[in-house]
Symmetry: C2
Subunit: 345 residues, 2 copies
Amino acid sequence: MVKVTQQDIAKVLGVSVMTVSNAFNRPDQLSAGLRQRVLERAAKMGYTGPDAVARQLRSGRTNTFAVVFEERLSYAFSDPFSVAWLAAFSEVMERKRASITLLSVPAGDIDALAAIQDAAVDGIAGLCGDQPAMARARERGLPTVYCTMEARSAEGVPSSGDYVVIDDYAAGVEVGQHLRRLGHRRVFLLAGEAFAGQVPMKEYRRGDVHPSDHLRISGLLDGLAGVDVTIVPIGTNSWAAGQAVGTIVLDRRDRPTAVVAVSDVIALGLMDACRQRGLTPGRDISLVGFDDLPESAAAGLTTIHQPVQDKGRLAAELLLDPERPDRRIVLPHELIVRSSTHPVA
Amino acid sequence: MVKVTQQDIAKVLGVSVMTVSNAFNRPDQLSAGLRQRVLERAAKMGYTGPDAVARQLRSGRTNTFAVVFEERLSYAFSDPFSVAWLAAFSEVMERKRASITLLSVPAGDIDALAAIQDAAVDGIAGLCGDQPAMARARERGLPTVYCTMEARSAEGVPSSGDYVVIDDYAAGVEVGQHLRRLGHRRVFLLAGEAFAGQVPMKEYRRGDVHPSDHLRISGLLDGLAGVDVTIVPIGTNSWAAGQAVGTIVLDRRDRPTAVVAVSDVIALGLMDACRQRGLTPGRDISLVGFDDLPESAAAGLTTIHQPVQDKGRLAAELLLDPERPDRRIVLPHELIVRSSTHPVA
DNA sequence: TTGTATGCGTTATCAG
DNA sequence: CTGATAACGCATACAA
């Protein structure tokens, strides 16, 4: 079965290629009768309709937008935060009849950067910070938006590219101050994997982490001024990792009085680890997360609320409308105090 | 900023376009020195690397595969079954460095069928039955796989196309027989929306549904031979819909003694509706689902277990390897009896 | 209303 | 090792 093209049809029918093309895309450009004849003939010849790729090349648009994750895709589907973001993002895209392609570009995987190069898309949204992948996309001249601000350049200003974020630094400070006011003097911070050069499950001190490495952590450190802080990158941003880190954080003589995780999934995992050990969050230990997932309310987790849906929706809108004026958006966040934090005895 | 092409670079450098192309794709085809010069010049001129679409047109491959859903994408991300399937599917794709594009083609939305036509992909997997969207894809000559067998043609054999399914009819029969043996004589069946022509939330009787409309329902009807059965299509395959249908199923004088939902999400939603009304599943009413989600075990839901991960994995493998021999796969399923079903008093 | 020429950006082929 | 030419399949601009 060899491929039939518009040329073949045109030849058989004795009309020009253009007429065939128009029969499919611009019915008003030819008589109904001719159009009818073309379509019938095309069907009979086994023509399958205009080729998607050729059309894209010719028109210069793909009507497709990529979403980049810095973790494996299977993670993207299991993380409640990305799922919520994706739902909002996809709703906007769907309404505009644009499609979505998913790209996984693990931080540090130079090889995977090729995926950015090879993506046939009109724009790229990153469920991540201003990663190399985003920079690469901009080099390609593609519109980009990123939605997490885990790091910023030395001057404290993102290098370039559009974004929809919250002020992660400020949020970190608020959480830090909250704990400090409650009297906590020994605190663990659990980072995910978005951490430059650190080894998973190892313990780091204030001096070990460069201030701009991770904005939430930076804010936390400043909000926790004068407090004894240990930072543990746990390797991946997941419930399981949060649960597993219990062995490091909870099973020690000098157990911290409070633990902050950079996301609710992690915090909820750790919460489970607490229960397994007979520790009650909010009484035996204080726990804080980031994101305010739906399940966090039920769990009584103190956290930073952020408008996930708005992030997803706005990211999509920025990509779809390159003329939209405000392209660097900082959304509001809010510290939600629930039962998982308490004053130290 | 106008687009720089390989031609421009070739011209400036006084070499042929081919040499430029080779500098990027086939380092062994030219001297290291020349290659170096080309790349440097290219960078200086703001060349962003080979154009993805042009390359796809030329090579005839996109290295991208589509996943088609028959519900809105936001649903796809919130349904545990699709998420699990996607995770497995994407893992295989990721390993082969192929990317995934998501397509939503609601059943009956003729307009949305265009998305199939316009998708620049090498193959299409459907998290659905042998829908029109799948047929369209086959007409295009694309490899397809579908993963749900909610209907089959009159002869009882799927029309064409590859698939990875379970024997939904047999599973339905098993569930029906299970309930009949327990003595249930008045049963409600809750279908999702994959139901031809029926009106959501209306009640149908045996005769109203064509046997081949929905294989699970067909099986259930046969397994429940002689039992008083009412069928309610609830509009969408979601927890919320299952919860909402409580008003129809539970708040009536002649309440059924058992309810079967075509998926666990629906059943779990209804389970919640039961609790709200003070009804205990497994005592006041029997509940059965399909899928065996992780949360179903905890909820004590009797259900049909099916190998979601295998479905996703195999679908991806079929698409990636057109030479693979067995292309119509029926995986095993199993009735898991838990506490939500009990003999009638 | 219909047709003609041309280019979108790349890469295969084959010749030098 | 390097280069000229020809597609890939379609749609835009313009002419008839």
